[in-house]
């Protein structure tokens, strides 16, 4: 009898103990809609700004609380995938617009126009609406920018008109360890941007495009593709005009080297100016277009990122309100200035801080730029191309062999 009483007492104690957190949270809970936002850590963007934005919004609202979670760009795809697959997506997430198709295929995202005010939507430049798919705006443009070439005018003031000229100039100024010709990452990172610069400059493309706009077989092993990779391999392994240890340096490791002032040229995005300032760069920084190969038309890579609203998230209405807040010039223009991208909002585009030489070059680059192929298999395709590039850098395969193998792998992957 005594034992039974002990058991009951113990069970009660155990139950109360287990329920304490629930009781505490229930007692302390306010009726607030929590909005989680996976915030990409763009170069130039400071954590202080993120905190300031979060505090400002939360102070302005009683019923909504936003939690802006900083996430490394290179980990964002994995992070959001895991969250969606786990059935706990955030309300908002900055995504590469090219990922949208993946999320749309699994019906994970919602049309942003359902939650964001018309006023905010009307203030977005029509040219930035890459996320408008099938007539529906599936992501709110957050950054859109073509890639350009930055150069250190303290080392050289010559602007190459062609890739061949760039090579000559890089060889001419290359004098390590004082001066290096060019920066080119050789370690895999999120996207195969570097190959894209040279591929587009050679007049090539990743896939053949069918008359209906769909993608056919991979064309990375076209003469243009091979020319692009051969050129990259030549710069890296024969001319040796790029940064030392390039195979161990990804984009995030390589670009900061430019701000030190020892490198003549780099192909980079709009964030270059703000990142240069943050890094305390002290040289004469100038901008130009990424040159095409001789006889080709200048073609840059344009990348757009969007903010997606996730279908299974709890507080989508509240998320829309946060976006309306964030897209006011007070915040969005500051954001654009920090990351260096041309503003996606019409009102911010008129502000004086965006009428600079950098933005002129960016606008010009965007005129003939091409984006990534929008396809659901892109993450794996990009990895295959990266690995193929590295095989060529390592000398394990010739550029032609490695691109032939990669193209075959990509076609097989896509069932062709």
């Amino acid at each position: 009898m005594k034992s039974r009483a002990s058991i009951i007492l113990l069970a009660c104690v155990l139950t109360v103990f287990l329920c304490i957190p629930m009781i505490l949270s229930a007692g302390g809970a306010k009726e607030v809609a929590k909005v989680t936002f996976f915030w990409a850590e763009y170069d130039g963007l400071t954590d202080a700004f993120r905190q300031e934005l979060q505090d400002a919004f939360n102070d302005s609202q009683e019923a909504i609380e936003v939690d802006i979670v900083p996430v490394d760009w290179d980990l964002m795809h994995d992070k959001i995938t895991t969250a969606v697959a786990g059935g706990a997506p955030p309300e908002l997430c900055v995504i590469g617009t090219r990922w949208l198709l993946e999320f749309m295929e699994i019906d994970a995202v919602e049309e942003v126009t359902q939650y964001v005010s018309k006023e905010t939507i009307d203030n977005i430049s029509p040219g930035a609406m890459e996320a408008k798919l099938g007539g529906k705006l599936m992501g709110l443009p957050v950054a859109a920018g073509a890639r350009i070439m930055a150069y250190n005018a303290d080392i050289t003031t010559k602007v190459p008109k062609t890739m061949e000229e760039l090579r000559e100039l890089a060889i001419r100024v290359h004098n390590p360890p004082k001066v290096y010709g060019l920066i080119m990452p050789g370690k895999k990172h999120t996207e195969c941007t570097d190959f894209a610069y040279y591929l587009y400059a050679a007049g090539g493309d990743f896939f053949e495009t069918r008359p209906d706009g769909s993608f056919g077989k991979s064309t990375i092993n076209s003469p243009a593709g091979i020319k692009a990779l051969e050129f990259m391999v030549q710069l890296a392994t024969k001319d040796k005009v790029i940064q030392e240890g390039y195979l161990g340096l990804d984009r995030m490791d390589s670009h900061p080297l430019f701000y030190v002032g020892k490198y003549a040229y780099v192909f980079i995005g709009a964030w270059v100016e703000s990142a240069y300032k943050s890094a305390g760069g002290e040289f004469d920084l100038r901008y130009a277009q990424i040159p095409p190969f001789a006889g080709q038309k200048q073609t840059s890579l344009i990348i757009t990122d969007s903010i997606a609203i996730f279908k299974d998230a709890k507080n989508k209405e509240a998320a829309g309100k946060f976006l309306d807040f964030f897209y006011k010039d007070e915040w969005k223009a500051r954001f654009d200035e920090m990351i260096g991208f041309p503003p996606v909002t019409i009102s911010a585009g008129k502000l004086p801080q965006f009428q600079t030489p950098l933005y002129q070059v960016l606008i010009e680059a965007a005129q003939n730029a091409k984006g990534w192929p929008l396809m659901t298999e892109w993450a794996e395709v990009s990895d295959i191309i990266w690995d193929a590039n590295v095989e060529a850098f390592l000398g394990r395969k010739t550029p032609k062999q490695t691109l032939d193998d990669a193209a075959a792998k990509i076609d097989k992957l896509r069932g062709m």
């Binding site: 895999k188 030392e244 195979l247 161990g248 394990r396």
Partner: protein, 304 residues
């Protein structure tokens, strides 16, 4: 007949006695936890490995062993599998060897032994991501301590790009795994050595045994069980060492540092091929279970 019923009743009564009820009550949280976080995921992954899945891992169509046969036909899979075995074998062997040597050194009485014991635990006490990122900086091709030291001292004027070339990347990463794992082995072996009776060593000295003989005939047999358990645990951990590789190379360059666990991650979370990820996870589970069973058999045979 009546007697056997009575015995059964008594057993039943004992089984459901108040005391055993209390034991079941205590076991309940752990059982629920195990079922929810261990058994359910394992069963779920096994089921997933037999299906075609969509991009978020939802089951679409039963395909039987297709995922496995697809994997077995891929050359890359076998390369990664062999590398995983090599990675585990080499890392565990080196950790065991270094662990033994350090444990022997720390088992000897000398001034500062306590400090040495404290210092040895630092790599184990630090979190793996911190250690991995620290070593990434050590290996940095421009500013890294290792490259710079080799250049400055003239030992190696053109050292490799440690994490940028396949062979050097593999050995650089495996060294970090070894570096992190050595303290555990050392401490476990040290604990085992301290449990060996000193009388045995004294008797061996009387019999004229030298240091090496004492190690072979007294120390090693004395720590045999500890050695078995420590190497088993180390094998399981090393085979599944995701953090070190992912943080340092993400399986690169050109896939040359992928082991099964990082390959699973890439298939599942980067490429959204959940079915193949699940199939590889099942293969990993089978391999590790076999290793654990062999160890258990050896261990318990001796116990009996």
């Amino acid at each position: 007949m009546v007697e056997s019923k009575l015995i059964l009743h008594r057993r039943k009564g004992y089984f459901w006695s108040t005391e055993s009820k209390l034991a079941y009550l205590f076991l309940l949280p752990a059982t629920v936890f195990l079922l929810a976080f261990m058994i359910y995921p394992i069963i779920n992954v096994i089921i997933m490995s037999l299906y075609k899945t969509n991009k978020i891992g939802k089951l679409v169509e039963f395909t039987g062993s297709t995922n496995f046969s697809d994997l077995f036909q891929q050359k890359d899979f076998w390369v990664v599998m062999l590398r995983s075995v090599y990675w585990t074998g080499l890392a565990v062997a080196v950790k065991t060897l270094f662990g033994l040597i350090l444990a022997l050194l720390l088992n000897v009485e000398y001034k500062g032994r306590k400090v040495a014991r404290t210092l040895i635990i630092i790599p184990w006490a630090s979190s793996v991501p911190v250690s991995a990122l620290l070593w990434r900086w050590v290996y940095h091709p421009e500013f890294g301590l290792l490259t710079h030291s080799l250049r400055v001292t003239g030992i190696w004027k053109n050292p490799p790009v440690w994490l940028g070339q396949p062979v050097s990347a593999f050995f650089s990463v495996i060294w970090v795994d070894i570096w992190i794992g050595i303290p555990f082995m050392t401490l476990v072996f040290l604990a085992g050595m301290q449990a060996v009776s000193k009388d045995l060593y004294e008797a061996a000295v009387v019999d004229g045994a030298n240091t090496f003989q004492k190690f072979i005939y007294i120390t090693l047999p004395g720590i045999r069980d500890v050695l078995l358990i420590a190497t088993l645990l180390s094998t399981l951990w090393t085979f599944n060492d995701f953090n070190t590789i992912y943080l340092m190379t993400r399986g690169g360059p050109a896939g040359s540092t992928h082991i099964l666990i990082t390959y699973i991650y890439e298939h599942t979370f980067a490429w959204w091929k959940w079915n193949y990820g699940a199939a590889m996870a099942v293969i990993t589970f089978i391999i590790l279970s076999i290793i654990a069973l062999i160890y258990a058999k050896v261990y318990f045979r001796r116990e009996m």
